[in-house]
């Protein structure tokens, strides 16, 4: 019983990481239909930001908290810059965007290698995140690492913040207007170019936050983005493009599935099985878990 609960919670914490990684994409890919392969490198930028801040600020406890907003801005600025330089020229060519941003991702990885060196680096988790919480005591205890709980909390907070931003703020209204009808938004006096850039800033900033979270569960390295980007895109594809609730549900379901399969087989077999499950799922719902049904099919 404890094993099942333990695996489930491991799955939930994998899901929380997946969710943080995919959340920014749900804005850039899901809402704006831009496939940004450099999203992984924005995550990397967030992670290195955390590393640099920890080196310069003594006291890991504070540096991690400082890193959250700084990483958001660093990665967000990178995203806005990318949008301005390249992506805005490519809005009508999604597949070319994919390949172009992959070129950007290559260059950013090399930049990281030149600045920080090829080997992975580590950050030290702050003291208040090193312990465990015992969820079930007794002879067969179930404990959860504080850092995992922190990531879960961070993921929930990010989802809430993004939802509120999209629902309640004027910026959110403008983003939704542009997504739903670009031309109409434009003639209604919305600067679509500015909205695009702001949305890209937000989505890329969320990647920075994900990068901060990743420093708590693994090493920081130039290729860390490549390792997570595919998983993140799969979450969006399965969840349904432009559907935040789909992203949330699918991130956790895939996390738990991965964790349970990993427990009963091996890591590599689990990865393959999850992918098979995804292909099978798309047979059943080719547009993802949640779709907007419209009459314009042509």
């Amino acid at each position: 019983m404890t094993v099942i609960l333990g695996q489930t919670f491991t799955g939930i914490s994998i899901g929380a990481v997946l969710l943080l990684i995919a959340l920014g994409l749900s804005l850039t890919f899901g809402q704006m239909n831009v496939i940004n392969m450099a999203h992984g490198e924005f995550i990397m930028a967030g992670a290195y930001t955390t590393y640099v801040l920890q080196k310069s600020i003594s006291g890991a406890g504070i540096s991690l908290l400082v890193a959250l907003p700084v990483a958001f801005i660093v990665s967000g600025a990178l995203g806005a810059l990318l949008e301005w330089l390249l992506i805005r020229r490519l809005y009508l060519r999604p597949l070319d965007t994919l390949l172009v941003t992959w070129g950007v991702s290559l260059m950013l990885q090399q930049l990281a290698r030149d600045i920080f060196g090829a080997p992975n680096v580590q950050t030290r988790a702050p003291d208040w995140l090193t312990g465990n919480v015992t969820l079930i005591g007794g002879a067969d205890p179930l404990t959860v690492a504080n850092s995992r709980l922190f990531i879960l909390g961070l993921a929930v907070a990010a989802v809430v913040a993004l939802t509120l931003t999209l629902r309640l703020t004027p910026l959110g209204r403008r983003i939704r207007a542009v997504v739903q009808n670009r031309d109409l938004a434009e003639v209604s006096g919305i600067s679509t170019a500015r909205v695009d850039r702001t949305a890209f800033f937000l989505g890329s900033g969320l990647a920075g936050i994900a990068g901060v979270a990743l420093t708590l569960v693994g090493p920081i390295g130039p290729t860390m983005g490549t390792n997570v980007i595919i998983d993140a895109f799969l979450v969006i594809v399965v969840g349904g493009i432009g559907q935040l609730k789909g992203t949330v549900i699918v991130a956790f379901v895939l996390g738990v599935l991965q964790s349970v399969l990993e427990y009963s087989t091996t890591l590599s077999v689990a990865k393959v099985l999850v992918l098979v499950a995804i292909v099978a799922f798309l047979q059943w719902r080719p547009q993802g878990l949640y779709t907007l049904r419209t009459r314009s099919l042509v």
Partner: protein, 257 residues
């Protein structure tokens, strides 16, 4: 050439997430008819055609030449002899006029034929080129055609498919007066051998060429008959009242396309 076949629609219903776009429509188009489908925006005209061609799920019954269509996949419905065009002309822009027609003519080709080059112009393709008046432009990329020519090419593609029923969605939208006239005459020629259903907003065009008319409103069939009968129907006048089209139905020409 195969015989034209009729279209019998019974209690057709289409809904999207709670909104009912087509609400229990009955429609009987006899073989060889040139039927116009009119109605205000949102009346469900295009959705009805979508349902017949398998693009949207629908309840009820659609029988073509006696066989039920609902539940069949899009390409199977197409193969049973139904062809359609869209509001915006969709031809393969990067292929030539000839290639467009050749592809349309070839749905039943064997694998062996498909894997070889096209060495000559198939006879039905040549005939269609003649009918739609694009013989001289056979070698031009379809993307370079004028708007009206693209619409004719689309109709030509249906002809070489040897469809028995053509469903045309606003074929004269955006055309000049002369192009409209030419298109209307083309449709009259075609409907000598095939059944044609036209969705149209242009009332002048309808009055000149329709053999029969069905009026849809809010997903339901409002009126049906000859042009004169429909124009005289008080229900139709009521629906169009308040629209600019009110006058067009009762006689004054306004082009609303």
């Amino acid at each position: 050439m195969s015989e034209p076949a009729g279209l019998e629609i019974h209690q057709l219903r289409v809904s999207f997430d709670g909104f009912t776009a087509v609400d229990g429509v009955d429609l009987d188009v006899r073989p060889g008819d040139l039927r116009f489908l009119i109605g205000p925006n949102g009346a469900g005209k295009t959705t009805l055609v979508d349902a017949v061609t398998g693009l949207v799920k629908a309840e009820g019954s659609v029988r073509f030449g006696g066989a039920e269509l609902l539940g069949r996949s899009v390409h199977r419905i197409a193969r049973s002899g139904i062809g359609r065009t869209f509001q915006t002309a969709t031809v393969f822009e990067e292929l030539t006029v000839l290639q467009n027609l050749d592809i349309a003519a070839g749905a039943g080709r064997s694998v062996w034929t498909m894997l070889r080059r096209r060495n000559d112009v198939p006879e039905p393709v040549a005939r269609a080129l003649e009918t739609i008046g694009l013989t001289k432009l056979a070698g031009s990329p379809a993307g370079t055609l004028a708007h009206g020519q693209k619409q004719w090419l689309e109709i030509g593609m249906l002809l070489v498919q040897d469809v028995r029923l053509l469903l045309l969605d606003e074929p004269v939208a955006g055309m000049s007066h002369d192009e409209r006239q030419a298109t209307g005459e083309l449709l009259e020629r075609i409907s000598a051998e095939r059944t044609v259903v036209v969705i149209e907003h242009d009332m002048d065009f309808m009055r000149s060429f329709a053999r029969s008319v069905s009026v849809l409103h809010a997903g339901r069939l409002l009126s049906e008959g000859t042009v004169a009968e429909v124009q005289a129907d008080p229900k139709v006048q009521e629906v169009y009242l308040g629209h600019a089209a009110a006058e067009t139905v009762t006689g004054v020409a306004v082009q609303e396309a």
